[in-house]
Protein backbone atom coordinates (compact mmCIF):
# COMPACT_ATOMS: atom_id res chain seq x y z
CA UNK A 1 0.00 0.00 0.00
CA UNK A 2 1.82 3.08 -1.18
CA UNK A 3 1.00 6.41 0.39
CA UNK A 4 -0.50 7.56 -2.87
CA UNK A 5 -2.90 4.62 -2.88
CA UNK A 6 -3.85 5.33 0.72
CA UNK A 7 -4.61 8.93 -0.18
CA UNK A 8 -6.77 7.79 -3.08
CA UNK A 9 -8.70 5.60 -0.65
CA UNK A 10 -9.20 8.49 1.75
CA UNK A 11 -10.26 10.73 -1.16
CA UNK A 12 -12.89 8.20 -2.17
CA UNK A 13 -14.21 7.98 1.38
CA UNK A 14 -14.23 11.76 1.66
CA UNK A 15 -16.16 12.09 -1.56
CA UNK A 16 -18.73 9.53 -0.43
CA UNK A 17 -19.13 11.35 2.87
CA UNK A 18 -19.42 14.73 1.16
CA UNK A 19 -22.04 13.31 -1.19
CA UNK A 20 -23.97 11.93 1.76
CA UNK A 21 -23.87 15.25 3.54
CA UNK A 22 -24.91 17.14 0.40
CA UNK A 23 -27.83 14.75 -0.13
CA UNK A 24 -28.96 15.14 3.45
CA UNK A 25 -28.90 18.92 3.08
CA UNK A 26 -30.73 18.83 -0.25
CA UNK A 27 -33.60 16.75 1.07
CA UNK A 28 -33.94 19.12 3.93
CA UNK A 29 -34.08 22.59 2.48
CA UNK A 30 -36.97 24.07 4.40
CA UNK A 31 -37.89 23.68 8.01
CA UNK A 32 -35.38 24.90 10.52
CA UNK A 33 -33.57 27.75 12.24
CA UNK A 34 -36.76 29.66 12.71
CA UNK A 35 -36.42 33.22 13.80
CA UNK A 36 -40.21 33.44 13.84
CA UNK A 37 -43.27 31.29 13.21
CA UNK A 38 -46.12 32.24 10.97
CA UNK A 39 -49.60 32.35 12.52
CA UNK A 40 -50.59 29.13 10.75
CA UNK A 41 -47.46 27.36 12.02
CA UNK A 42 -48.32 28.39 15.52
CA UNK A 43 -50.08 25.65 17.45
CA UNK A 44 -52.10 27.28 20.13
CA UNK A 45 -52.34 24.21 22.35
CA UNK A 46 -48.61 23.64 22.25
CA UNK A 47 -47.34 27.18 22.47
CA UNK A 48 -49.89 28.39 24.97
CA UNK A 49 -48.28 30.33 27.81
CA UNK A 50 -44.86 30.24 26.19
CA UNK A 51 -42.82 33.04 24.68
CA UNK A 52 -42.91 32.89 20.89
CA UNK A 53 -42.00 35.03 17.92
CA UNK A 54 -44.73 35.38 15.35
CA UNK A 55 -44.23 36.98 11.97
CA UNK A 56 -46.76 38.04 9.38
CA UNK A 57 -48.59 41.01 7.98
CA UNK A 58 -50.51 43.56 9.96
CA UNK A 59 -54.12 43.19 8.86
CA UNK A 60 -55.73 46.14 7.17
CA UNK A 61 -57.85 48.35 9.44
CA UNK A 62 -56.98 46.30 12.50
CA UNK A 63 -54.72 48.77 14.27
CA UNK A 64 -56.13 50.69 17.20
CA UNK A 65 -54.79 52.29 20.35
CA UNK A 66 -56.59 52.18 23.63
CA UNK A 67 -55.15 53.68 26.81
CA UNK A 68 -51.61 53.57 25.41
CA UNK A 69 -52.09 49.89 24.53
CA UNK A 70 -51.70 49.18 20.85
CA UNK A 71 -53.85 46.45 19.40
CA UNK A 72 -53.54 44.89 15.98
CA UNK A 73 -53.96 41.60 14.13
CA UNK A 74 -51.19 39.60 12.45
CA UNK A 75 -52.21 37.45 9.56
CA UNK A 76 -50.68 35.23 6.90
CA UNK A 77 -53.96 35.10 4.95
CA UNK A 78 -54.87 31.83 6.68
CA UNK A 79 -54.91 32.43 10.39
CA UNK A 80 -54.97 35.48 12.58
CA UNK A 81 -53.36 36.35 15.88
CA UNK A 82 -54.46 39.23 18.09
CA UNK A 83 -51.60 41.30 19.50
CA UNK A 84 -51.52 43.70 22.45
CA UNK A 85 -48.47 45.86 22.85
CA UNK A 86 -47.44 48.65 25.12
CA UNK A 87 -44.42 50.62 23.95
CA UNK A 88 -42.88 52.43 21.06
CA UNK A 89 -43.50 51.01 17.61
CA UNK A 90 -40.69 51.07 15.02
CA UNK A 91 -40.88 53.57 12.16
CA UNK A 92 -41.65 50.97 9.56
CA UNK A 93 -44.66 49.62 11.42
CA UNK A 94 -47.62 50.06 9.17
CA UNK A 95 -50.80 48.28 8.24
CA UNK A 96 -50.35 45.82 5.38
CA UNK A 97 -46.64 45.51 6.03
CA UNK A 98 -44.53 42.82 7.61
CA UNK A 99 -43.97 42.57 11.33
CA UNK A 100 -42.39 40.18 13.82
CA UNK A 101 -43.76 40.12 17.33
CA UNK A 102 -42.18 38.54 20.37
CA UNK A 103 -44.25 37.83 23.41
CA UNK A 104 -46.31 35.46 25.51
CA UNK A 105 -49.11 33.59 23.83
CA UNK A 106 -52.36 33.29 25.73
CA UNK A 107 -54.96 31.43 23.66
CA UNK A 108 -54.86 33.35 20.40
CA UNK A 109 -53.86 36.58 22.04
CA UNK A 110 -50.23 37.61 22.06
CA UNK A 111 -49.02 39.95 24.79
CA UNK A 112 -46.07 41.39 22.96
CA UNK A 113 -42.92 42.48 24.68
CA UNK A 114 -41.14 43.44 21.47
CA UNK A 115 -42.30 44.44 18.02
CA UNK A 116 -39.90 44.33 15.08
CA UNK A 117 -40.88 45.71 11.71
CA UNK A 118 -39.88 43.39 8.89
CA UNK A 119 -39.39 45.47 5.87
CA UNK A 120 -39.36 44.19 2.31
CA UNK A 121 -36.63 44.35 -0.27
CA UNK A 122 -38.34 47.06 -2.31
CA UNK A 123 -36.80 50.48 -2.37
CA UNK A 124 -38.58 53.31 -4.14
CA UNK A 125 -38.55 57.06 -3.89
CA UNK A 126 -41.52 58.36 -1.90
CA UNK A 127 -42.69 60.61 -4.74
CA UNK A 128 -42.92 57.76 -7.22
CA UNK A 129 -44.85 55.49 -4.89
CA UNK A 130 -47.37 58.27 -4.31
CA UNK A 131 -47.85 58.67 -8.03
CA UNK A 132 -48.23 54.94 -8.49
CA UNK A 133 -50.87 54.87 -5.81
CA UNK A 134 -52.73 57.70 -7.48
CA UNK A 135 -52.73 55.89 -10.79
CA UNK A 136 -53.72 52.60 -9.20
CA UNK A 137 -50.68 50.63 -10.33
CA UNK A 138 -49.76 49.89 -6.76
CA UNK A 139 -49.62 46.16 -6.33
CA UNK A 140 -47.16 45.17 -3.73
CA UNK A 141 -47.20 41.45 -3.29
CA UNK A 142 -45.74 41.31 0.16
Amino acid sequence: MSKRFQRVLVVIFSLIFLLASALLILFNVKSNIVFFLTPSELQIEKHNNTIVRVGGMVKENSYSTYNNIKKFIITDNEKEIFVNYEGILPDLFKEKSGVVVEGKLINDNLNASKVFAKHDENYMPATISDKLKEKGFWNKNY
Partner: protein, 234 residues
Protein backbone atom coordinates in the same frame (compact mmCIF):
# COMPACT_ATOMS: atom_id res chain seq x y z
CA UNK B 1 0.34 40.06 -18.07
CA UNK B 2 -1.55 39.33 -14.91
CA UNK B 3 1.52 38.19 -13.06
CA UNK B 4 1.30 41.19 -10.74
CA UNK B 5 -1.68 39.42 -9.19
CA UNK B 6 0.53 36.73 -7.67
CA UNK B 7 4.09 37.98 -7.89
CA UNK B 8 5.03 40.17 -4.89
CA UNK B 9 7.71 42.14 -6.73
CA UNK B 10 5.51 42.92 -9.70
CA UNK B 11 2.57 43.72 -7.45
CA UNK B 12 4.77 46.16 -5.59
CA UNK B 13 5.75 47.95 -8.79
CA UNK B 14 2.21 47.98 -10.19
CA UNK B 15 0.81 49.26 -6.90
CA UNK B 16 3.44 51.97 -6.68
CA UNK B 17 2.75 53.10 -10.24
CA UNK B 18 -1.00 53.19 -9.86
CA UNK B 19 -0.96 54.55 -6.32
CA UNK B 20 -1.78 58.15 -7.17
CA UNK B 21 -4.47 57.31 -9.71
CA UNK B 22 -6.23 54.95 -7.34
CA UNK B 23 -6.00 57.43 -4.50
CA UNK B 24 -7.46 60.29 -6.52
CA UNK B 25 -10.24 58.13 -8.03
CA UNK B 26 -11.13 56.88 -4.56
CA UNK B 27 -11.33 60.40 -3.18
CA UNK B 28 -13.36 61.80 -6.10
CA UNK B 29 -15.70 58.85 -6.26
CA UNK B 30 -16.23 59.02 -2.51
CA UNK B 31 -17.08 62.73 -2.67
CA UNK B 32 -19.41 62.26 -5.63
CA UNK B 33 -21.00 59.19 -4.13
CA UNK B 34 -21.56 60.68 -0.69
CA UNK B 35 -22.99 63.87 -2.12
CA UNK B 36 -25.21 61.96 -4.52
CA UNK B 37 -26.35 59.50 -1.89
CA UNK B 38 -26.86 61.87 1.00
CA UNK B 39 -28.05 65.03 -0.69
CA UNK B 40 -29.38 64.44 -4.17
CA UNK B 41 -31.11 61.08 -3.87
CA UNK B 42 -34.78 60.93 -2.96
CA UNK B 43 -36.18 59.52 0.26
CA UNK B 44 -37.66 56.06 0.32
CA UNK B 45 -41.42 55.60 0.37
CA UNK B 46 -41.24 53.45 3.51
CA UNK B 47 -38.07 54.41 5.30
CA UNK B 48 -37.83 58.09 4.52
CA UNK B 49 -34.47 59.63 5.24
CA UNK B 50 -33.09 56.56 7.01
CA UNK B 51 -32.63 54.83 3.67
CA UNK B 52 -29.38 56.79 3.26
CA UNK B 53 -27.66 54.40 5.68
CA UNK B 54 -28.15 51.73 3.04
CA UNK B 55 -25.64 53.49 0.80
CA UNK B 56 -22.88 52.73 3.29
CA UNK B 57 -24.28 49.54 4.77
CA UNK B 58 -24.73 47.60 1.55
CA UNK B 59 -21.32 48.32 -0.07
CA UNK B 60 -19.61 47.60 3.25
CA UNK B 61 -21.44 44.29 3.58
CA UNK B 62 -20.56 43.30 0.04
CA UNK B 63 -16.92 44.17 0.58
CA UNK B 64 -16.83 42.29 3.87
CA UNK B 65 -17.82 39.14 1.99
CA UNK B 66 -15.80 39.96 -1.11
CA UNK B 67 -12.65 40.34 0.97
CA UNK B 68 -13.15 36.91 2.45
CA UNK B 69 -13.82 35.41 -0.97
CA UNK B 70 -10.59 36.94 -2.27
CA UNK B 71 -8.72 35.62 0.74
CA UNK B 72 -10.15 32.16 0.07
CA UNK B 73 -9.00 32.25 -3.55
CA UNK B 74 -5.53 33.40 -2.55
CA UNK B 75 -5.49 30.80 0.21
CA UNK B 76 -6.16 28.02 -2.29
CA UNK B 77 -3.47 29.43 -4.58
CA UNK B 78 -1.00 29.69 -1.72
CA UNK B 79 -1.55 26.19 -0.37
CA UNK B 80 -1.88 24.28 -3.61
CA UNK B 81 0.57 26.17 -5.86
CA UNK B 82 2.95 27.43 -3.15
CA UNK B 83 2.43 31.07 -4.14
CA UNK B 84 3.81 33.02 -1.18
CA UNK B 85 1.97 36.13 -2.28
CA UNK B 86 -1.20 34.42 -1.07
CA UNK B 87 0.09 34.40 2.51
CA UNK B 88 1.15 38.03 2.26
CA UNK B 89 -2.24 38.96 0.84
CA UNK B 90 -4.20 37.19 3.56
CA UNK B 91 -2.09 38.68 6.30
CA UNK B 92 -2.42 42.18 4.85
CA UNK B 93 -6.09 42.08 3.96
CA UNK B 94 -7.70 40.47 7.03
CA UNK B 95 -7.83 43.77 9.02
CA UNK B 96 -9.49 45.51 6.05
CA UNK B 97 -12.15 42.82 5.97
CA UNK B 98 -12.67 43.20 9.70
CA UNK B 99 -13.15 46.95 9.32
CA UNK B 100 -15.75 46.52 6.58
CA UNK B 101 -17.55 43.87 8.63
CA UNK B 102 -17.64 46.16 11.64
CA UNK B 103 -18.86 49.02 9.43
CA UNK B 104 -21.61 46.80 8.10
CA UNK B 105 -22.65 45.65 11.58
CA UNK B 106 -22.60 49.15 13.11
CA UNK B 107 -24.49 50.89 10.30
CA UNK B 108 -26.89 47.97 10.25
CA UNK B 109 -27.73 48.30 13.91
CA UNK B 110 -28.03 52.09 13.67
CA UNK B 111 -30.49 51.50 10.85
CA UNK B 112 -32.23 48.65 12.65
CA UNK B 113 -33.12 50.60 15.78
CA UNK B 114 -35.60 53.01 14.17
CA UNK B 115 -36.70 50.68 11.38
CA UNK B 116 -37.07 47.27 13.00
CA UNK B 117 -37.28 48.56 16.53
CA UNK B 118 -34.16 46.83 17.75
CA UNK B 119 -30.40 47.24 17.61
CA UNK B 120 -29.68 43.58 17.26
CA UNK B 121 -31.48 40.26 16.86
CA UNK B 122 -29.99 36.81 16.68
CA UNK B 123 -31.33 35.88 13.31
CA UNK B 124 -29.38 33.86 10.77
CA UNK B 125 -28.10 36.76 8.65
CA UNK B 126 -26.89 38.95 11.49
CA UNK B 127 -25.32 36.07 13.39
CA UNK B 128 -23.47 34.73 10.37
CA UNK B 129 -22.04 38.18 9.61
CA UNK B 130 -20.93 38.48 13.23
CA UNK B 131 -19.19 35.11 12.88
CA UNK B 132 -17.51 36.43 9.75
CA UNK B 133 -16.11 39.25 11.87
CA UNK B 134 -14.93 36.76 14.49
CA UNK B 135 -13.22 34.74 11.76
CA UNK B 136 -11.33 37.85 10.63
CA UNK B 137 -10.16 38.42 14.21
CA UNK B 138 -9.07 34.78 14.57
CA UNK B 139 -7.15 34.97 11.31
CA UNK B 140 -5.34 38.07 12.55
CA UNK B 141 -4.52 36.44 15.88
CA UNK B 142 -3.33 33.26 14.17
CA UNK B 143 -1.04 35.27 11.93
CA UNK B 144 0.62 36.86 14.90
CA UNK B 145 0.83 34.18 17.57
CA UNK B 146 3.33 31.69 16.16
CA UNK B 147 7.05 31.76 16.81
CA UNK B 148 7.69 30.77 13.25
CA UNK B 149 6.06 33.35 10.99
CA UNK B 150 5.68 31.07 7.97
CA UNK B 151 4.00 28.47 10.12
CA UNK B 152 1.46 30.97 11.41
CA UNK B 153 0.71 32.07 7.87
CA UNK B 154 0.08 28.52 6.70
CA UNK B 155 -2.14 27.71 9.68
CA UNK B 156 -4.16 30.88 9.26
CA UNK B 157 -4.55 30.14 5.55
CA UNK B 158 -5.97 26.72 6.40
CA UNK B 159 -8.34 28.45 8.79
CA UNK B 160 -9.38 30.86 6.02
CA UNK B 161 -10.34 27.89 3.87
CA UNK B 162 -12.23 26.26 6.73
CA UNK B 163 -14.12 29.46 7.44
CA UNK B 164 -15.15 29.98 3.84
CA UNK B 165 -18.11 27.67 4.51
CA UNK B 166 -19.59 30.71 6.19
CA UNK B 167 -19.82 32.71 2.94
CA UNK B 168 -22.69 30.80 1.28
CA UNK B 169 -24.42 30.70 4.66
CA UNK B 170 -24.33 34.50 4.83
CA UNK B 171 -25.43 34.87 1.24
CA UNK B 172 -28.36 32.49 1.35
CA UNK B 173 -29.37 32.84 4.99
CA UNK B 174 -32.19 35.20 4.06
CA UNK B 175 -33.54 32.76 1.49
CA UNK B 176 -33.13 29.51 3.43
CA UNK B 177 -34.51 30.63 6.75
CA UNK B 178 -37.06 33.17 7.79
CA UNK B 179 -35.07 36.06 9.17
CA UNK B 180 -35.84 39.56 10.25
CA UNK B 181 -33.39 40.77 7.63
CA UNK B 182 -34.99 41.35 4.25
CA UNK B 183 -33.93 39.33 1.18
CA UNK B 184 -31.41 40.74 -1.26
CA UNK B 185 -32.67 43.51 -3.52
CA UNK B 186 -30.01 43.67 -6.19
CA UNK B 187 -29.36 40.04 -6.95
CA UNK B 188 -32.62 39.62 -8.82
CA UNK B 189 -30.91 40.50 -12.08
CA UNK B 190 -34.00 40.68 -14.24
CA UNK B 191 -35.80 43.24 -12.16
CA UNK B 192 -34.00 44.63 -9.14
CA UNK B 193 -36.47 45.78 -6.56
CA UNK B 194 -34.75 49.11 -6.20
CA UNK B 195 -36.00 52.05 -8.18
CA UNK B 196 -33.45 53.51 -10.55
CA UNK B 197 -33.04 56.83 -8.71
CA UNK B 198 -32.08 54.95 -5.56
CA UNK B 199 -30.10 52.30 -7.41
CA UNK B 200 -27.74 54.75 -9.13
CA UNK B 201 -26.26 56.31 -6.00
CA UNK B 202 -25.92 52.81 -4.56
CA UNK B 203 -23.93 51.74 -7.62
CA UNK B 204 -21.75 54.85 -7.40
CA UNK B 205 -21.12 54.23 -3.73
CA UNK B 206 -20.33 50.58 -4.39
CA UNK B 207 -17.75 51.49 -7.00
CA UNK B 208 -16.33 54.14 -4.69
CA UNK B 209 -16.01 51.56 -1.91
CA UNK B 210 -14.40 49.07 -4.28
CA UNK B 211 -11.78 51.62 -5.32
CA UNK B 212 -11.20 52.56 -1.70
CA UNK B 213 -10.76 48.86 -0.99
CA UNK B 214 -8.24 48.59 -3.81
CA UNK B 215 -6.36 51.55 -2.37
CA UNK B 216 -6.29 50.01 1.10
CA UNK B 217 -5.13 46.67 -0.32
CA UNK B 218 -2.30 48.26 -2.24
CA UNK B 219 -1.19 50.15 0.87
CA UNK B 220 -1.35 47.20 3.25
CA UNK B 221 0.12 44.62 0.90
CA UNK B 222 3.02 46.93 0.10
CA UNK B 223 3.63 47.48 3.79
CA UNK B 224 3.58 43.71 4.32
CA UNK B 225 6.04 43.14 1.46
CA UNK B 226 8.34 45.78 2.97
CA UNK B 227 8.23 44.04 6.35
CA UNK B 228 9.18 40.79 4.64
CA UNK B 229 12.10 42.42 2.85
CA UNK B 230 13.26 43.78 6.20
CA UNK B 231 13.13 40.31 7.74
CA UNK B 232 14.98 38.80 4.79
CA UNK B 233 17.73 41.42 5.08
CA UNK B 234 18.27 40.69 8.74
Amino acid sequence: MFSFLYNPGKFFIAAEKSHNYIKMTAIYLMIIGILYALVFSPDDYQQGFTVKIMFIHVPAAWLAMFTYALMTIYGILALSFKITFGYIFIKAVAPIGLIFTLMCLITGSIWGKPMWGTWWVWDARLTSVLILGIFYIIIMILNRSFDDIENGEKISTIFVLLGSINLPIIKFSVDWWNTLHQPASISKLASPSIEISLLLPLIVMTIAFKVLFLFLISLRVRAEINIRKQILKE
